[in-house]
């Protein structure tokens, strides 16, 4: 469902973030993307979201070359994906419920459906009793669970997570990872960028490693450092 062939990304300032990357991901897979700081991991997620365009090469999602999308088609690409970031990116003045519902408002779902579905995902991430709180009244792990609820509320086929546990302590991180595994087990393809060695080594999922923009390792049941 996801395929990169000879993808190169050079930023306007000349730095080459990705260099001739080839990889393909099947529907329902769980993939860790690892690599040192500056290796190009975030750039990879930006290309998939079409926040950046590849300098050369092809990125195919569901048979469509997304480098060729016209600007007005980009929102529809993004609706097929969910994203979570290290810094949660929640609206500080909105309640948990409003933050999650917003993703459905934006795609113009009927209010009745929004209420039902938001309740459903808040239950899934275990925040039903905190639905009326503001992000500032929640712990980091809880905030990330809100972000996760928002990312999956529209049932995306692909979930991108860029260091989702980067700001969390190990125990809280495991809570998030368990949720990601649950989501993945319902058929959502998962791409998780991470520096969390312990998590990668424990789960033994597919591991893709980037080194200065080059894909140097792709293992079926990998560990953090090969």
């Amino acid at each position: 469902m996801l395929e990169l062939s000879n993808v190169t990304k050079a930023y306007p300032n000349g730095s080459v973030a990705l260099n001739q990357v080839n990889m393909s991901v099947e529907r329902g897979e769980f993939v860790f993307v690892v690599g040192a700081s500056g290796a190009g991991k975030t750039t990879l997620t930006k290309l998939l979201l079409r926040e950046e365009k590849p300098t050369s090469g092809k990125i195919t999602i569901n048979g469509k070359n997304i480098a060729k999308l016209r600007p007005h088609e980009v929102p529809y690409l993004r609706r097929s994906m969910g994203v979570v970031f290290q810094d949660f990116r929640l609206m500080p003045t909105w309640t948990v419920e409003e933050n999650v519902a917003f993703a459905m408002v934006v795609v113009e779902t009927a209010p009745r459906l929004i209420r039902r579905r938001v309740a459903e995902v808040l239950e899934l991430v275990g925040l039903t009793n905190k639905h009326a709180q503001l992000p500032s009244q929640l712990s980091g792990g809880e905030q990330q669970r809100v972000a996760l609820a928002r990312a999956i509320v529209n049932k995306p086929m692909l979930l991108l997570a860029d260091e989702p546990t980067g700001n969390l302590d190990p125990e809280t991180s495991w809570g998030i990872v368990k949720l990601l595994l649950d989501i993945n087990s319902t058929g959502t393809t998962m791409l998780m960028v991470t520096h969390a060695k312990q998590i990668v080594d424990t789960l033994r999922k597919r591991v893709v490693e980037l080194e200065s923009g080059c894909l140097t390792r792709d293992e079926r049941c990998g560990i953090y450092h090969g």
């Binding site: 979201l49 929102p75 993004r78 994203v83 993703a103 408002v105 934006v106 113009e108 009927a110």
Partner: protein, 295 residues
Amino acid sequence: MVKPRTFGYFFESAGKSLLRNSWMTLASISTVAVSLLVLGIFLVVAANINAVAANVEGQLQVTAHLATLSAAERGRLEAEIKAIPGVTDVRFVPQSEAWQRLLEWYGDNQDFLAGWEEENPLRDSFEIRADVSHRVPEVAAAVTVLAGVEEVLWGREIVEQLLAITRMMRLVGIGLMVALALAALFIIANTIRMAIFARRREIGIMRYIGATNWFIRWPFVIEGLVLGLLGGMMAASVLAWGYYLAVRALVQAIPFWPWVQPWPFLQQLALLLLSIGVVIGILGSGLSLRRYLDA
């Protein structure tokens, strides 16, 4: 395409933004209102000058003083004048009638005219009317060259002054309108720019979760529209109220002056001001959206 239902969200979003930046909101509404009010006052004055001009022009006529002519010669001349394009009416005024008019004009102060009676210094004349006032100069020129006509008089100064005033009003008016519209446009654009900055975090999230550009833009367009509309409404109500009172007072002071009546003039004026307000509002927000929002 955005679903109609979603406009509820857009209006709510625009309303929140307007309330959050209440000072900016107030400032832009007032600027729009003041600009449109000045424009409105200008239009009111212009309309009244036009009314006066039309009134005066409607009364304009060409007076041709004649040489001493036989009845036959006079008849031929009258036919020639009637044949000039634009001439609607030709009336012969014998010198005796002219003298009577002079006496009436001076009323009680006619003593100094005594003694002239016998050798009436006035001449026979034709009073000529044109179908439209702007043809008066043309008609006057055509009459001047006819045989038997000694002198042609018409309200040249009045017509030319009125034309000059109208020209100047138009020039000043256009300049004023452009300047004020720009000021209003600028302040709305600035308000929307601030609204965009206040919500850039939200906009960033919207992009990630797949909001279309129009979904992101609409609340700002509505915000600009509301600012323009409210400014226009304020200007229109102040102007309508003010003019209504002014005309009521003026009609008593100068009863026979051709004041433009408040109805339906004010209704048209209000509609115009509201439309201009809306256009300025939408344009202003459009400017900022182009500059600060499009990726």
